[in-house]
């Protein structure tokens, strides 16, 4: 297969039914994309294929042939990529971090200023067991409007009573 992976053209000699996930991890050395289930449930393996979020554990190599693929390693090159990454660090969107690559990639196609509902819908296929999702929503909201203010190292979470939540 031939694909543009994170902006680089790659020619790979793989079985057409090999999972894109394995192609990326084993043949391209891009281990940032994670496997949490292998059955399309967890979204940890999310990548963009021609700009569309897919579970790479459910895409055979043949169907990625000729496509442009973005993985977490290539996110920083995308429009809101770096801001999303930074927001996940600053606002607690990443705890153990295993779901994080998939979360960030799934959030990438969202428009700047997306509503909370749009964010939830975009991330509906991504499971996180650490955060309870709220800090992920906050991170995505902030990452999608990368104004200085939203990303200043915050003390938004305040002790003794400050309401600290996205809603």
């Amino acid at each position: 297969m031939i694909a543009i992976i994170n902006g680089k053209r790659r020619k790979l000699d793989v079985h057409p039914m090999k999972r894109l996930l394995d192609v990326l991890r084993e043949d391209c050395g891009l281990t940032g994309t994670k496997e949490g289930c292998g059955e399309g449930e967890c979204g940890a393996c999310t990548v963009l294929v021609d700009g569309v979020a897919v579970d790479s554990c459910l895409v055979p190599a043949a169907q990625a042939d000729g496509c442009a693929i973005v993985t977490i390693e290539g996110v920083a090159r995308a429009r809101s990529g770096r801001a999303l990454q930074d927001a996940f660090v600053k606002l607690g969107g990443a705890q153990c971090g295993i779901c994080t690559p998939g979360m960030i990639v799934a959030a990438l196609p969202l428009k700047a200023g997306a509503s909370l509902d749009e964010i939830k819908t975009a991330l509906a296929g991504n499971l996180c067991r650490c955060t309870g999702y709220l800090s992920i929503f906050r991170s995505v909201q902030a990452g999608l409007r990368p104004s200085r203010e939203a990303l200043r190292p915050t003390r938004k979470t305040r002790v003794k009573g400050k309401r600290a939540n996205a809603r």
Partner: protein, 712 residues
């Protein structure tokens, strides 16, 4: 300085995690590495009568004969074999190991490897089991006198199911054999548990075993004891193959074979006066331990100590037992027995309130533990006993009373739970552990050397904050050494809400000692003049902390964190689906070292607790998890996330670092009973979790107008 503690500094591990650079176990390989798989029993109980192994060349095969040391997973009791020899006690018990250089070749080996069994009758009901792993009794005062003082005696039975930790990264390790040493890399919480298990299994001196933690994609207790088993397997294969061996479970194997939260049966008989004062508490706790002892004894211990809830009562009897059943061993899971028993007491409290016709908040206010009161084990609480403050804060913040009135008879319900959680190992546990922590002076600051693992909760960051402030240097000048048993001392396991309050305290002491030695010099100046040095400190119990393990009396924990949850929910009367619409979580945790990370623990733990309460169900059929796939064992998704209001209160604990107590586990104690109490408010009398729609449909319905329930 003094600016890192209490501030939301940038996580040390953050950047690597958001760029995909962080290396988890499956992201790592070694030259010549092969892959390993486990062949497991398919029956719940029986004797292995014959083994049929027909594998072509290229496979490495190992069984119990290949174990050079002792064939058990060293933990508490030496009862669990690393590889079954003659008897199997549960489905998915490891029998044989197979290695191959080509990963796909390890799939579908059932054709080539099979066993014949002489089956024995399995036991699934813990109350029908004749094998008890552990019994614990707690007695306080005179129970008969307590019941004699009561106007009403009220009983109830409550049940909780299994729960799967469901870390998104499955279990995995790599064993690398060397001339001198066996090294195991892995996704794990407790490097020294794994180290100990390997030493026993391999029959090697401690210096010839090395354990290194790789970035760990969630644990929640699920990587507390199980990695010892997996590390032993990989090491056996690696020894035999003479090559590095990687073993990563797929999700199905992880669900089928690894530990879950203990199911429990909790029975209460409570004496109470008409006015609502509790005079006697008689509690029975039965835990289903699964097929081997693993950590059941300590899970039970924490369970029984929390079984009477955060309430004052002079006459208490608690009887607990952990029983064998022929199901995969249950083990550590965030909360460690306390979520089960506090579900029991908190569900019981609302029924009790109904019974005597008083408001559930009032009943709790009347009985909540206050400073100076004694717990079930007779521990006298200090000034930081915060049951009442958290209760009042939660009631006020959530508008509990008004919603309670307004929603009566509607499809909406509101319920609360009050709970506490001891920080650190129970009783004499910390003294026995005698944990160590070290701090090494570096050219720009200091390097932390501890065995405490980062599993997402922010260990590295939080420890560095404590050290930075105690040493008086900027946060960024503190490094954290990789968790590698060749370098870091044994700081004990990363469990039991102890990483901040116990190990953090050790580090604070190291830093203060280091500061003394530096005098006025900055670390950099001192380093230039004199070079590096290392300070180590070892656990010492706070003064006057006494524990009697025989009588189960005394100071069970150095400190307790306190919590109150209010859950608002809506029930769809057509489908019995429950949607949490709002959660208020108030937690008193001493001091929030990193408020955002502490909040993250509370939000995450609460979400996990809501899953436990409502949808997470392990369906056991013939001793086997029948729904061992993520499609069928369902956890909350982003669309299920309920908005949450987190409020943290701080009442410093004198012997915690900067006053901090533990926060990791407590958040999962409260959601389930709050949910059940909210369901009761909408008229559904459920006494077991998960309260699935199917269960709700069959639950007795109460009259909407707060009619009293009869005892029973």
């Amino acid at each position: 300085m003094g600016r890192a503690v209490g501030a939301n500094v940038r996580r040390k591990d953050g950047d690597a995690k958001v760029t995909g650079a962080a290396k988890y176990i499956d992201d790592i390989s070694f030259p010549g590495m092969i892959f390993g798989a486990t062949i497991r029993s398919t029956i719940p109980h029986g004797e292995i009568a014959a083994r049929h192994v027909k594998l072509p060349g290229g496979f490495v095969v190992a069984d119990y004969h290949d174990i050079p040391g002792k064939n058990y997973v060293a933990l508490i009791d030496p009862d669990q074999p690393c590889l079954a020899e003659h008897i199997v006690r549960h489905v998915a018990e490891p029998i044989l190991l197979v290695g191959h250089a080509d990963r796909p070749r390890l799939i579908g080996l059932e054709q080539q490897v099979s066993f014949e069994y002489l089956e024995r009758a399995p036991i699934y009901d813990p109350e029908a089991s004749d094998t008890c792993f552990k019994r614990i009794s707690i007695d306080k005062g005179d129970l008969d006198r307590g019941f004699a003082e009561a106007d009403v005696v009220f009983e109830g039975e409550y049940r909780t199911g299994h729960q799967e930790q469901l870390y998104i990264e499955t279990n995995g390790v790599i064993a690398v054999p060397g001339d001198e040493q066996m090294t195991v890399y892995g996704s794990l919480q407790c490097p020294y548990y794994v180290h100990k298990a390997l030493v026993v299994l391999l029959g090697l001196p401690p210096g010839r075993v090395r354990v290194v933690q790789t970035e760990t994609g969630g644990g929640f207790g699920g990587k507390e004891e199980y990695p010892s088993m997996l590390a032993c397997h990989a090491a056996i294969l690696a020894r035999k193959a003479g090559r590095p061996v990687k073993m990563i479970y797929d999700r199905v194997e992880d669900l089928l074979a690894t530990t879950k939260r203990h199911p429990s049966i909790i029975r209460h008989r409570t004496g109470v006066t008409r006015g609502g004062r509790i005079t006697a508490m008689d509690v029975e706790v039965v835990m289903d331990g699964g097929a081997y002892a693993t950590l059941s004894a300590v899970v039970l211990s924490r369970g029984v100590i929390h079984a009477s809830g955060p309430y004052r009562c002079d006459h208490i009897r608690i009887r607990g037992r952990a029983m064998l059943t022929h199901t995969p061993p249950n083990g550590a899971f965030r909360g460690f027995g306390a979520p089960q028993t506090q579900f029991g007491i908190e569900a019981h409290m609302d029924r009790l309130a109904d019974e005597i016709g008083i408001d559930p908040v009032k009943l709790r206010e009347l009985n909540a533990l206050k400073p100076g009161d004694t717990t079930a084990t007779g521990q006298t609480l200090g000034k930081d006993a915060s049951a009442l403050p958290v209760l009042r804060e939660a009631v006020r913040r959530s508008g509990f009373r008004e919603k309670r009135r307004k929603w009566r008879g509607t499809t909406r319900g509101i319920g609360l739970s009050l709970f506490f959680h001891g920080s650190g190992f129970t009783g004499g546990g910390e003294v026995k552990l005698a944990s160590k922590a070290s701090l090494e002076l570096t050219a720009r600051g200091a390097r932390i050397l501890v065995a405490s693992t980062e599993i997402g909760q922010g260990t590295r960051t939080m420890h560095a904050q404590i050290v930075a402030d105690a040493l008086g240097v900027p946060f960024d000048d503190i490094d954290v050494h990789e968790v590698d048993t060749d370098f870091v001392p044994d700081s004990g396991p990363t469990v039991a809400s102890r990483t901040c309050t116990i190990v953090g305290k050790l580090l604070e002491r190291c830093a203060r000692d280091m500061r003394k030695r530096l005098g006025r010099l900055s670390p950099a100046d001192y380093f230039k003049k004199h070079g590096s040095f290392t300070v180590t400190s070892q656990y010492e119990p706070p003064p006057n902390l006494l524990w009697d393990d025989e009588g189960y009396k005394g100071d069970a924990y150095g400190s307790y964190a306190w919590g109150c949850n209010v859950v608002e929910l809506e029930v769809d009367p057509a489908t019995f689906e429950v949607r949490p619409i709002n959660v208020t979580a108030v937690a008193e945790i001493g001091k929030a070292i990193h408020p955002m990370m502490a909040e993250g623990q509370i939000e995450g733990g609460t979400a996990q607790g809501l899953g436990y309460a409502l949808i997470e169900e392990v369906v056991m059929r013939d001793g086997r998890m029948a729904n061992a796939q993520l499609t069928n064992y369902i956890i909350p998704t982003p669309l299920d996330a309920a908005p949450m209001k987190v409020v943290m209160l701080e009442r410093p604990y004198a012997y915690g670092p900067f006053g901090a107590k533990g926060v990791g586990e407590m958040p999962i104690d409260g959601p389930a009973p709050a949910v059940i109490n909210a369901l009761r408010h909408c008229g559904y009398d459920v006494r077991s979790i998960p309260a699935t729609p199917e269960r709700l449909m069959n639950a007795p319905r109460q009259k909407a107008e707060g009619k009293r329930q009869k005892a029973g």
